[in-house]
């Protein structure tokens, strides 16, 4: 059986987990076996709806104490659940929680692990999974040699596939060990789309000349419904908060659309965004290295182009 761990934030199932569900269902189809979801904690979503993303069955360990991440606890419970249902493939989303839990689960199941997977396994001759390496600059095809396999699939890589299923939900009972950490404070960034979950991202660099000029970028993000990001010099100068920094040492993202405004495109910045499906670069310097990595480029003054782009998007949306 393929077992897919369904991750949540604020009792909402994450989009990346729906992608993982679809990915797990596709693996099960390849292997000719069953596929189930595993949900820990309490969520507001209707769990039977996971069938629409490919689940045949949903195992639910319903306990509020599992709504926040405790790797020791979560990995123990997931490994136990996987053993109970004889899972031979366990799938995670390669998101913040999946990255933390999957390796511990692999140890507990004595399973080979591939994190950052970018496509379906090749099962013709063994079990080979392709993953991104060198910060998105290359792919490696990795053979998993163990009977049980653990895979964490890159966000925005496989997509959410629609199925016409309704899953049966079964509440399960596994004794919950004592918590290993105690959460004392939570600081949520209110009202913003989390960068790692966003499918559209608008990002600004030093070319915007100062934090006071960010309103044109925020307007563009609003018109698209996009998350906002920035380059390292911008967050280092405190023009924008650190959690917006994308790049080699910041957050690595792979949205469907990445619009870079006034960012030259240093190799360390590209390492954080080069897995984006479509890249638009707006820069007044035609020699900016970012144009080489872009799908669409606009050479000119961002202070004129960005408001015009926002207006064009609003116009398109109002006529759509």
């Amino acid at each position: 059986m393929v077992l897919v761990y369904i991750d949540q934030a604020d009792q909402q199932i994450k989009k990346s987990s729906l992608e993982a569900m679809s990915y797990g269902a596709a693996i099960a189809k390849k292997l000719g076996c069953d596929v189930a979801a595993l949900v820990l904690g309490t969520v507001q979503d209707n769990l039977a709806d996971l069938g629409k993303n490919g689940a045949q069955k949903v195992y639910h360990l319903k306990n509020e104490s599992l709504n926040t991440l405790d790797v020791k606890l979560h990995s123990t419970l997931i490994a136990t659940a996987a053993k109970n249902v004889n899972a031979n493939v366990v799938v995670f989303a390669h998101n913040i929680n999946g990255k933390a839990i999957a390796p511990a689960v692999a140890i507990k199941l004595e399973a080979g692990l591939v994190t950052g997977a970018s496509s379906l396994p090749n099962t013709e001759n063994g079990f080979v999974v392709t993953k991104t390496v060198f910060s998105g600059k290359a792919f490696a095809s990795i053979q998993i040699e163990t009977p049980i396999k653990v895979i964490a699939i890159n966000q925005n890589s496989f997509g959410v596939v629609a199925y016409e299923n309704t899953a049966t939900v079964e509440e399960i009972n596994i004794p919950i060990p004592a918590a290993s950490i105690k959460i004392t404070k939570l600081e949520k960034v209110e009202g913003e789309i989390p960068l790692t979950e966003a499918s559209l991202v608008v990002s600004g660099g030093r070319g915007l000349k100062g934090p006071e000029h960010w309103s044109i970028l925020l307007d563009l993000a609003k018109s698209l419904g996009a998350a906002t990001a920035c380059s390292r010099p911008v967050s280092d100068s405190d023009w924008r908060p650190h959690h917006e920094h994308v790049g080699q040492t910041g957050i690595q993202i792979a949205p469907n659309l990445y619009i870079a405004i006034g960012i030259s495109g240093a190799i360390q910045h590209l390492a954080g965004v080069n897995r984006s499906k479509t890249i638009v670069v707006i820069n007044k310097d035609p020699e900016a290295p970012f144009f080489k990595a872009a799908d669409y480029g606009v050479i000119g003054d961002a202070f004129e182009i960005v408001p015009a782009l926002s207006a064009a998007i609003l116009k398109m949306k109002s006529t759509a």
């Binding site: 934030a9 004595e110 080979g112 390496v133 490696a140 290993s180 698209l224 650190h242 606009v298």
Partner: protein, 247 residues
């Protein structure tokens, strides 16, 4: 307090990524090697800062690698740390590497184990979590702030859409990222001292690799940028909608 910092050797961030032997091996020709930035800037430097506050703290560095990892380990020792252990083995398998480090960690009785959040070559972000499972101790990932009173650690970590602060009893494994510490460069005194610091080479323990790399590929080159007239943003919107189909 005993701290173990896991150090990995990686190609420089600007290194050309190419492969040899029928795309089965990373081409090391002309590559500059560095300490994996997350291991250096955040894990190691935070450990050094903790030792500066508590002179009784002991920092050991550990790496899994062949003799060519030694310049990197010496550079790490020049930043700080009391001694280093090199496990003499070359492996790309996280499971194998974690088992090697876990053996050292068990023997040394460390209260704190720091890793970087991931390495910039294989990007697996696995070792910290695996170590915690092998040692059966708590793990906090993506830490951007860390303090410790000797028995309890207070850690701030990144979560989806925000940050969370938690308390955890030692021993614990922490994966470190931006925010943990201020970047440093080694000074002359550190470089001189590093030459005489102990660097122990140990043989790997028995472990089986669970994965093997079959081949590498480089992504297809972008077909080239399509330039759009800055006075015609309607055209860019049309392309994004009809050609790229992303909005």
């Amino acid at each position: 307090m005993k701290i173990l910092v896991c150090i990995s050797k990686t190609p420089d961030t600007t290194a050309k990524i190419a492969f040899t032997e029928g795309n089965t091996k990373f081409d090391e020709n002309g590559v500059q090697w560095i300490i994996n930035p997350y291991d250096e800037w955040y894990a190691l430097v935070r450990a050094i800062e903790l030792k500066e506050k508590d002179p009784n703290a002991i920092i050991h560095l550990v790496t899994v690698g062949s003799a060519d990892a030694e310049p990197i380990i010496r550079k790490a020792l020049a930043l700080g740390g009391d001694e280093a252990i090199r496990i003499d083995s070359n492996s790309n398998d996280s499971f194998y590497i974690a088992k090697q480090i876990a053996a050292i960690a068990k023997e040394g009785g460390y209260e704190l184990i720091f890793t970087g959040k991931e390495t910039i070559d294989y990007n697996s972000s696995s070792i910290g979590s695996m170590l915690s499972a092998l040692l059966d101790i708590p793990f906090v990932s993506l830490a951007n702030k860390f303090d410790c009173d000797g028995t309890t650690a207070t850690v701030r970590r990144e979560i989806e859409g925000g940050e969370e602060t938690c308390e955890v009893n030692l021993p614990v494994v922490i994966s470190c990222q931006k925010g943990m510490a201020e970047q440093r460069i080694p000074n002359m005194r550190g470089i001189m001292a590093a030459r005489t610091k102990p660097l122990k080479v140990v043989s790997p323990v028995e472990a089986t690799a669970t994965t093997s790399i079959k081949k590498f590929d480089t992504p297809p080159a972008k077909s080239g940028v399509k330039l759009v007239d800055p006075a015609n943003m309607d055209e860019l919107v049309r392309l994004l909608k009809e050609e790229a189909k992303v909005i």
